[in-house]
Symmetry: C2
């Protein structure tokens, strides 16, 4: 069976949770999985459970909030560090989740040619999540799902709830 | 904290996996979860893992393929049976996933008034997945995510792969 490239993008809720669902589905078939979380450093509800199930998780050492127009240098450095982990640690995995990498690609922090080369050479199924998936990535991908936010509780001014939003 | 009603709809890949991701997130916060799978009877990769994590799973005793214009009577009966399980077993849960229930609602197998009453009285967070979520449900919901299929590998004629599609 050949590898797949899945892209989950759009402004709606459920991109990362959808990827987590894919992890669980793969684990159910005794597949090996790695999860790389770009731009995220804080623990979230699912991490401990995924670790206990044997998923290797790699993430940022600190969180960053940034505008695509002004990307801090230390964010770029941290992104490159995690990217090297991807290149090193994604081998021999059936499923590799690159959570929020679409942001790093659209902001050109990880270069198109570098990422294309990775997709060409990897033997793993790759899932790329995050808003603004670049069109060149959508063209390469086997599946592109766009999650649209039709309505969101934040709009009504209600706070995030443990276990639902994080 | 008050309960939430989340709707995940649309023709794209990732509705059920997104709900599974929410389950894992909730379990990470030590919440109690029930999963009800409408129209599905076959085992899927995630079931065993979810069960081992303490999730109670209820589903159809046999699978049905049907057109909304012609719904077999035994499907309706099976749907009502599972619905009674929902009413009975969803109490004292933090999160209740009603997988594919949108189909049952749009086909009017589970009546609007019955479901509205359930949503009014339950204390659980409710997630409804499936295509064609009725508009009345989208109006009640706190969050509505629509997953659009921009591109799908099936289109290219490649077969479903274990751990990704099921």
């Amino acid at each position: 069976l050949s590898k797949r490239i899945l892209v989950i993008t759009g402004n709606g809720k459920g991109k990362t949770t959808s990827a987590i669902g894919l992890i669980i589905r793969s684990l159910g078939h005794k597949k090996k999985v790695s999860l790389f979380k770009f731009f995220k450093s804080q623990p979230s509800g699912e991490d401990k459970i995924l670790k206990n199930l044997g998923v290797k998780i790699f993430k940022f050492k600190k969180a960053f909030f940034f505008k695509p127009s002004k990307i801090p240098k230390d964010l770029k450095i941290e992104c490159q560090r995690l990217w090297r982990e991807v290149e090193k640690e994604s081998e021999n995995k059936n499923l590799v989740i690159l959570d929020e990498i679409n942001l790093a690609l659209s902001a050109n922090i990880i270069k198109k040619e570098v990422f294309k080369k990775f997709l060409n050479t990897t033997k793993s199924n790759i899932v790329c999540t995050g808003r603004n998936a670049p069109l060149w990535l959508q063209k390469i991908a086997d599946t592109v799902s766009e999650i649209k936010e039709k309505k969101h509780i934040y709009i009504k001014g209600i706070k995030a709830q443990e276990g639902i939003e994080f």
